[in-house]
């Protein structure tokens, strides 16, 4: 069984994610996948989309936790502008102040996806990244 990537956290008005990763790069990738899972879910019967779009993502912030918000915010913005869902994420560089990544994405179409929730934004509310025995664990909340 593969390791758990993320799980939802209860919040009265919004949705939070607890994210797990064996290293920081995996944590950031899993956070992105968790966020997209809240927006829409791929229909199991949907055909594979042949044409995918590629995006280069580079963001900076002051500290790893702030960087997680900036990274997810950047992906959310791209998803909203281009109506896409990220399908593959490759992080080429990650420090406590910057991240560089390549993102493959496919159109967020009614035929391939079941729409769930529109995420308004990524918040700094109870934002946390901690190191533990198995790697890293993060907490992030979304405004929906």
């Amino acid at each position: 069984m593969s390791a758990k990537k993320y799980e939802q956290i209860e919040h009265t008005a919004d949705i939070g994610l607890k994210i797990f990763g064996k290293d920081k790069k995996t944590l950031f990738i899993n956070a992105a996948q968790g966020m997209f899972s809240l927006i829409a879910v791929r229909k199991s019967a949907a055909k594979k989309i042949k044409t995918s779009q590629e995006f280069k993502v580079e963001v900076q912030a002051d500290g790893l936790e702030g960087l997680l918000v900036s990274w997810l915010s950047e992906l959310l913005t791209l998803a909203d502008i281009y109506s896409i869902v990220a399908t593959r994420l490759y992080v080429s560089h990650l420090s406590s102040k910057s991240i560089q990544a390549r993102v493959s994405a496919e159109p967020l179409s009614d035929s391939a996806y079941t729409m769930k929730t529109e995420i308004k934004a990524v918040t700094y509310h109870l934002l946390k990244i901690v190191k533990n025995k198995t790697g890293f664990q993060g907490t992030v909340f979304f405004d929906i």
Partner: protein, 485 residues
């Protein structure tokens, strides 16, 4: 009543005080409008802690206020109101407005009564559902160029009316006439422009809605009559905000402001409360950008109303002379504004944050249209999709106690995940159908997330603000047709 929290004391039936002893660093006490029935739900999460955190803001005047629909937000609680003294280094916090800048609600009356739509409701709701863009990834019918978008950001709803989508009377019946003045679209990021362009005229998802409602109770005959509102009359309520444009503006400025507490030596206990003095470069820039987003939201609701009017005309095959779909009022419930109040007898310019709270100006205020100046500002309080919504008016007491503010809705009781896991979608739909409510939604989980059980009873909330005197009941509506994202 003694609560388990020693710093929380009952002041009256509908008002509690959270004293500064609750958390070191609070500059003022918190005042919470609630009652003993609702208090336990308030203590379930960390909303009270957030009332205390807001009291840390430099320049805060009188109290950190919370309306009875208070629930756990981020930074400010939802239902939070705070005013800071601009002349005394008072701050503005994007977290005191929220991501959905100028999320708000408008109420449109019609010349129709319940019997006029009986037997036609299903078709009318279907037509609205297919005509009004809603849900994840929806796009509006108005394709803006960048220069048109800039004009919209400067003029707000007025720009939309100039394009032929509404009337001068609509603007008069919109808070701020649908336009925050002196805004600079040069302070807006390209991302915000890109997100905003295709989304104007879209409802959104989550708790945003368009509802056909019927007035089922009048509380103040005189005011209702002045507003031309009567029992069984059909009205339309629209709840939406500044869409991706506003979300981007807030995210952009929240990031910019992360450095400000250090730069201006401000201590706040939550990063989401990052703030800057109103008169600082960052404070001024945020307020100007926020004004652009507020204008976007008013333009958005104006377009949504126009589309609704078109659908009613098309469906009923009659013009507006017969339909008389006039705007009663449009209110913002996520906004920060400069307003003047007497503080210890001296007029002071304050930055009033309303996060999930509604302006509720009392009679006589110059900001109100002349036709409403004798009754006070109409205040629109949406409930959940199975219970009621209300029309209230603002009061002089609100001017004295809450910087002219009142509640904004029912307030969530259950988390979305809890609602999805405990409620059965088909059962919720059946219960609504049995009550005579037609509902359409694009989102798979919206029905459970937004089910009446997930919300506090708006009737309880409104009773508190009415009894506390910070607004006054005019009439109550019940939903009959609901469009959700």
């Amino acid at each position: 009543m003694e609560t388990k929290i020693p710093a929380l004391k009952k002041l009256s039936e509908n008002k509690f005080c959270l004293s500064k002893e609750f958390k070191p660093g609070m500059r003022v006490d918190g005042i919470i409008y609630t009652n003993e029935k609702l208090l336990p739900s308030l203590l379930q999460d960390k909303a009270l802690e957030q009332v205390a955190n807001v009291a840390f803001l430099p320049g805060i005047i009188k109290h950190s206020l919370a309306m009875p629909d208070i629930h756990w937000g981020y930074g400010f609680p939802i239902g939070g109101v705070a005013a800071t003294d601009i002349g005394e280094g008072g701050v503005v916090s994007p977290g005191g407005v929220g991501f959905d800048i100028n999320c708000g609600v408008r109420l449109v009356k019609t010349g129709l009564f319940q019997q006029d739509i009986e037997g036609k409701l299903t078709d009318l709701v279907n037509l609205l559902y297919h005509s009004v863009p809603a849900g994840v990834g929806s796009k509006g019918s108005l394709k803006l160029t960048e220069s048109q978008e800039k004009a919209l950001l400067i003029k707000g709803a007025k720009w939309v009316v100039e394009q032929g989508y509404g009337t001068k009377d609509d603007l008069e019946c919109t808070e701020e006439n649908g336009c925050m003045k002196d805004v600079d679209p040069g302070l807006i990021s390209q991302y915000a422009y890109q997100r905003g362009r295709p989304q104007v005229g879209t409802l959104g998802s989550g708790n945003h809605f368009l509802e056909i409602q019927v007035i089922d109770k009048i509380f103040d005959e005189k005011i209702a009559e002045q507003l031309n509102l009567f029992e069984t009359q059909v009205v339309v309520m629209i709840h939406s905000g500044s869409r991706g444009f506003g979300h981007q503006v807030c995210s952009d400025y929240l990031k910019t402001m992360q450095d400000c507490p250090r730069k201006y030596n401000i201590k706040v206990p939550d990063r989401q409360l990052a703030c800057a003095p109103v008169e600082s470069k960052e404070g001024k820039a945020y307020l100007s950008a926020m004004g652009c987003a507020a204008n976007y939201a008013w333009a958005n609701r104006q377009l949504l109303m126009h589309k609704t009017r078109e659908v009613f005309e098309k469906f009923l095959k009659v013009g507006q002379n017969t339909l008389k779909m006039n705007l009663i009022y449009d209110v913002a419930h996520n906004i920060a504004k400069t307003e003047t109040y007497l503080v210890n007898g001296v007029p002071k310019k304050l930055c009033v944050h309303r996060k999930g709270a509604t302006r509720a100006f009392g009679p006589g205020r110059q900001e109100l249209p002349e036709k409403y100046r004798n009754i006070g500002q109409p205040v629109i309080i949406p409930g959940d999709m199975g219970r009621n919504s209300y029309l209230l008016v603002g009061t002089e007491q609100a001017m004295q106690e809450t910087f002219g503010s009142t509640c904004h809705g029912a307030g969530r009781l259950q988390s979305r995940t809890q609602a999805i896991h405990t409620l059965d979608r088909n059962k919720v739909l059946k219960e609504l159908k049995d009550k005579g409510i037609e509902i359409r939604s694009t989102g798979k989980e919206t029905i459970c997330e937004e089910a009446p059980q997930a919300y506090k009873d708006v009737n309880d909330i409104v009773e508190i603000v009415h009894n506390a005197g910070i607004s006054k009941k005019v009439c109550r509506m019940k939903p009959v047709g609901v469009i959700k994202g």
